[in-house]
Symmetry: C2
């Protein structure tokens, strides 16, 4: 009994300290729909939400799958604050009304984690990297091409740099840039903000202007849920996608955009599953891509180089990155160490670690920001 | 008492006839998210929905603001069917969980009626007009330009026809195409499917290839809800937008795309509020646009021509359209009659009426399909 009381007192003190620690400087999020006050975040990354639901019995919200309770006032407004802070950047998010998880009508939509859904965008100390600034802007172009491999229409986004439509004689290098598992071809231009990242780097003279091509690397319809469970996603991603990229996408881009057509001006990169695809494709076809980036998606190891001598011969840049919270995880072989070893073997390899972010878009925005500055320099 | 009984029997018979009349040929909608069975519609336009919500006390769904009840089975699935059919095409839609109206996570998102929200797309007898067909495809390009009028960044979508990037010497006419009140610059390429409509018309040799420019004609941030209530929306739409279009958008498009730069190759059209803006701007600046389209957005009348003689001198095409369910409404002056009269005065005017549709996207898709075939012919 005495022990219970002590625990109770300790818990009380701890909870008052914890809540005293939360700064009351909450602001509305940039991911909110027009005119909506909630959700909000404070400068530490705590998220506060409010939902008007006078007839509901329980209202909660979830961020990255973590559920937080809300409590109701006399007027029917439910309010709650996350009991932990979240990293800077973008997180998937929903509200839960009497057990039904639904998108928050206050928030804007993106495709991520297997569906179009709502998200929160937490302010970041380095958000100017991907902000809409007063600089010349490129275009994000949406196009459809028919695949000779699958017979289906492929939905593709292409970033062209600011001056692309001005000097019609100039040619550009191309980066093929892939999303991760359960994301799609919209990810890099929406969550990833690749257009703004490029516009800003080009305006600041920090990168060579290039084109970015963003394809769906996972699967297209029609695939049933059953087929997905049976592994069809992986067959599409690792068997069909390389073929689609090489036979359909690259020839289309090189004959419909003003690109260079040699491997020196052709790069491949991706995040998570897209990094694994980059590794697979560039090791199998080292003559096609001279520069690669793997963001939270594996490494090129000493063993890879020994087994693929052609890769070392052709590769001019190998960029490996992770979020610091990913490599803290003891299950991982330290990627920095792998990169150090392949550099000794003569590979022009770079390692970047995004501070205090995990397997999430903030890591990948920063990775692109760093990678783009190294690309097509030699 | 006897009367009540008779009414009850009549109601019973009527309801059994009504439900007997609903065809059980429900199919999943093309607007559903990947792998989602519900919502469904039958061939008559009735909509059936199902939501898993074992803990909820009441679940409903609404289409265009009309609410339909759902009932719960032993496993916690709520199912309901609309008690009336809906027109072919696109309608805004939401589910309601214990009184909280939220987007349906089963459905895809669009911006419409003042927010990003879910929608249903009902099959239409003429859906091939706006289907993704196996034809050459143009591009929808997303760009940002800074306005000299407001100092803000304007978010613009531009459709370029299939061969735009091939023959770099060819120039194109331009249609400036505006959305309606509480919609935005995304409407015409998403709900309106203008890219597919143009690709199909061009492939079928039914229209002269041209560029389409889609701007936000209402308002951009930052506008508070208070300002909107006070009419700032209208000030922006009818005072600022004409200036933004003429001073910022047209000069940018004509110096960054391969366009003709004379009024003969410049058209303006819009739906609803966009039609009213088209009327306002083209009457005030008849020298700028030789061809105009007003879709569910008013007419050019005899009085307009008398008051604006320059308009008749410059105009080469005036296209007026409505959904048949709009002009059934006795409040409206019959637009067909207005068009007949201005034709007598020498205006090259056309009238189109979309069969069995109201003030909705199916009317406007069909209007664009008809209008595009007449544009830039003379």
């Amino acid at each position: 009994m005495k022990k219970t009381l002590i625990l109770f007192v300790v818990a009380l003190v701890f909870s008052s300290v914890a809540s005293a620690q939360i700064k009351e400087d909450f602001v509305s999020l940039s991911s909110n729909q027009w005119g909506k006050e909630y959700p909000k975040a404070n400068s530490e990354g705590y998220v506060r939400n409010q939902v008007y639901a006078p007839q509901a019995c329980r209202v909660e919200f979830q961020i990255n799958g973590k559920v937080f309770p809300m409590s109701k006032d006399a007027e029917g407004y439910w309010t709650g604050t996350s009991t932990e802070p979240f990293d800077e950047g973008n997180h998937y998010y929903a509200i839960i009304i009497d057990g039904v998880e639904v998108p928050d009508p206050n928030s804007r939509f993106l495709y991520g984690s297997g569906a179009e859904r709502t998200q929160i965008e937490l302010p970041a100390h380095d958000q100017d990297k991907y902000a809409l600034r007063d600089v010349p802007h490129g275009q994000i172009r949406e196009l459809y091409i028919k695949s000779s491999v699958t017979g289906e229409h492929r939905h593709i986004f292409v970033y062209t740099p600011p001056m692309y439509d001005k000097d019609l004689k100039k040619r550009y290098p191309v980066l093929y840039l892939q999303h991760g598992y359960t994301e799609n071809e919209t990810g890099w231009s929406r969550q990833g903000r690749c257009g703004f990242i490029m516009d800003n780097l080009i305006a600041d003279g920090k990168c060579v202007p290039f084109i970015i091509v963003m394809e769906n690397g996972e699967t297209s319809h029609p695939f049933t849920m059953e087929e997905r469970k049976n592994g069809s996603m992986n067959r599409q991603a690792f068997q069909k996608f390389p073929e689609i990229l090489i036979k359909d996408v690259i020839p289309y881009i090189e004959s419909n955009f003003r690109t260079y057509t040699d491997s020196r001006h052709r790069a491949l990169a991706g995040l998570s599953m897209g990094g694994m695809q980059t590794r697979q494709i560039s090791l199998a076809h080292p003559e096609l891509f001279s520069q690669i980036g793997l963001f939270s998606g594996g490494t090129i190891s000493e063993k890879d180089l020994q087994e693929n001598p052609e890769f070392l011969k052709h590769n001019r840049l190998t960029f490996i990155s992770y979020g610091s919270r990913e490599v803290e995880n003891p299950r991982w072989t330290a990627p920095e160490e792998v990169v150090r070893k392949v550099k000794e073997l003569g590979l022009n390899a770079y390692y970047y670690e995004s501070p205090l972010t995990a397997h999430e878009w903030q890591t990948w925005r920063r990775s692109l920001y760093e990678f783009a500055q190294l690309l097509f320099r030699k």
